[in-house]
Symmetry: C2
Subunit: 404 residues, 2 copies
């Protein structure tokens, strides 16, 4: 006997219900409310070029789907008639989960993009099998969903972001060398991170997620074209071109951590040799600075830098020099003239910035002016925010999935 | 007194004459004839989704503009009624001119893409001022236009391609280090290369032109995503993504010759250091092989390679190794999994291919399989063909410029 349609299966079944034109118009109206919170139906109609009656009908569907809420009375301009303002419903949100080499994290963003809840647990995940990690993550996403529900927020979908190359369509982690994962299929596990969510749970690359967070919530306001460099145990990156993430043919562009910066460099976990990560990844910097034991390594590095410890200073300067080589080469081949540095590079800004700028001037003079070298202000939550924000955009782009 | 509109000024004036929808339909019909030479009006109407009457009217305009010609009787399928086939008019063509470090060249392509005429003159252009070169090039393009006219071919537009970064909109060569040019404005000189041509003469980068030739007339048939590497005195490149040239925000993407392949490498004409060009450019290879005097240097290098001369072999292998580093890094950051090598790299295929493949395997194992390393068969005319073919596409995309 076929099951009756449930919330979780709306996506597939809805495909036939709402016509193409109405689907498009629903997304247009919702996009208008997203860009311009508090907008009236009359203003939406004028902006989009639909009749007021059409907009009212579309808004009724969006209200019914719980994506939109009526807000205070708004006035369109000084002499316009007052109307009811419309905002994205703050009682709907998206989940993000992150597996990093040294932590697990979950977060909740509401539709307006505000971070409502966040939890991060330090854990050495190198060599942990997916079967070890996923149950821990399910506990955390469960707590996040309970916390969201307690604040009256329903989670409509989510994204898991990982430090590796992914095939998002097949829910596969193709290669995450710093976890030791190759060809891991998460099709079965992903939905379990947020059971019953109408928009499901998708998979993304951590550096791309952080680059999107930077685009939507950070230096994307200043630069429309930039390389984002994610500094974690691994070094990743994302190319933003014309204010969009340029993912490349298979979605793997921006992998700056495995650009070759020295022909005689050491072997890398990726199988290559002389990769940037071997000089500028966290472990490489700690080792070069002589900070070998685990625990509070970044704090200890920062203390030594503040004390002017020569080993620490030269380790960070070396990272900055090689980072400059990879950024210069990226600028040449991808025609990028700005760079935003996140993760540990942002934490080390005071020490790494001068070395990076010297290196850029040495290897590609004039290509990336010092004013176009920026450091992320998003901190540890960048990838988490980017993953949740991607989910929010997925929801806002397909409101018809919730409308029968 | 305003001048009456002339052929040369049609572009600007036509803008107001033909409506937007008709413009689009003219290009659609012309595109259909381009893709499917010999097609009938009835088939075009069916393919494009316009009425036969509309197509007939659009075709009449294209015939009037001289872009299309009626060909032999064609039959649409076995039982279709016979109709007159339509082809691009072979009596219309495009000009290309090329300034290289060691030669000047001109060529003529007809609208169907066949190379009708070509002339190349060896000349050491390093340090030659634009004022020295342009008059020589004007003589050559004049001869090309006369040769085209003698075969009954009218040239509608052209492109000058140069070994440097260009701003095509402003007709500026921003930097061509191997010519010694910086910030050269060619706005006044470009039209003189083909006076009165309705589509004028535009400016392009040599490596991008060669990449486009490879896309349209070479390995583009096999690979939809590849890095094209142009080996001349300078080393340039073009990124093809999804069967289109990816030019980057300012149109300068693909500049692989100035990617940094050794942190302690020599200074480069670009102002940087350790660039690929310093290891894999023609001069770098000749010097490393001990072939110092001018004249027939490639022939002598090939002779020595054939003789198994150790210096020659190791010079080419070194070039292959560093080429592999830059290609591996490009593959990482731009998510490319195929490479096509042109210019001197193609001439040196037998000696450089093994070194290049070993290097790719060493620095990025598995990323670019040996089967995805290809060598161009287009020879010396690649950039010329690409520049003329770009002009042909410019013409085919804007037929309304010729229709009042």
């Amino acid at each position: 006997m076929p099951h009756p349609p449930t919330h979780a299966t709306v996506g597939k079944h809805a495909a036939g219900r709402v016509g193409d034109v109405r689907r498009q118009n629903l997304a247009l109206v919702l996009g208008g409310i997203h860009r311009n919170g508090g907008v009236t139906r009359a203003r939406l109609a004028a902006d989009i070029g639909l009749t007021k009656a059409s907009v009212s009908s579309l808004v009724a569907d969006l209200l019914g789907a719980g994506l939109v809420r009526e807000d205070s009375i708004a006035r369109d301009g000084e002499r316009g008639r007052p109307g009811t303002g419309l905002v994205l419903n703050p009682a709907r949100g998206a989940l993000a989960a992150e597996i990093s080499v040294d932590h697990l994290a979950v977060g909740v963003l509401d539709l307006a993009g505000d971070l409502l809840f966040q939890e991060s647990v330090e854990r050495r995940n190198r060599g942990s099998a997916p079967a070890d990690l996923l149950p821990l993550l399910v506990e955390m996403t469960g707590r996040a969903a309970i916390a969201a529900a307690a604040s009256g927020v329903e989670l409509l979908g989510g994204e898991l972001t990982v430090p590796g190359l992914v095939d998002a369509e097949r829910n596969m982690v193709l290669a995450a060398p710093n976890l030791g994962w190759t060809g891991v299929d998460l099709s079965t596990e992903l939905p379990g991170l947020l059971p019953g969510a109408p928009f499901g749970v998708s998979l993304s690359n951590e550096a791309n997620s952080a680059a999107l967070a930077e685009l939507w919530h950070g230096h994307g306001a200043t630069f429309s074209d930039f390389l984002y460099v994610s500094g974690e145990v691994g070094v990743g990156g994302g190319l933003v071109i014309d204010s969009r993430l340029y993912a490349g043919p298979q979605g793997h562009a921006g992998e700056i951590g495995h650009m070759v910066v020295h022909p005689d460099g050491p072997r890398c976990a990726c199988g290559g040799r002389g990769c940037l990560e071997a000089f500028a990844g966290q472990d490489a910097i700690y080792s070069a600075a002589g900070i070998e034991q685990e625990g509070r390594r970044m704090e200890r590095l920062l203390e030594r830098l503040a004390d002017g410890d020569e080993g620490a200073v030269s380790a960070v300067e070396r990272a900055g020099q090689y980072l400059g080589i990879a950024v210069a080469s990226t600028a040449r081949v991808a025609n990028i003239s700005a760079v935003v540095l996140g993760g540990h590079f942002a934490a080390l800004e005071d020490w790494i910035a001068p070395a990076l700028c010297r290196s850029l001037e040495r290897y590609a003079p004039g290509l990336i002016p010092a004013g176009n070298v920026a450091f992320s202000g998003l901190g540890q939550t960048a990838a988490l925010v980017g993953a949740a924000a991607t989910t929010v955009r997925r929801i806002l782009g397909r409101p018809y999935e919730l409308i029968s």
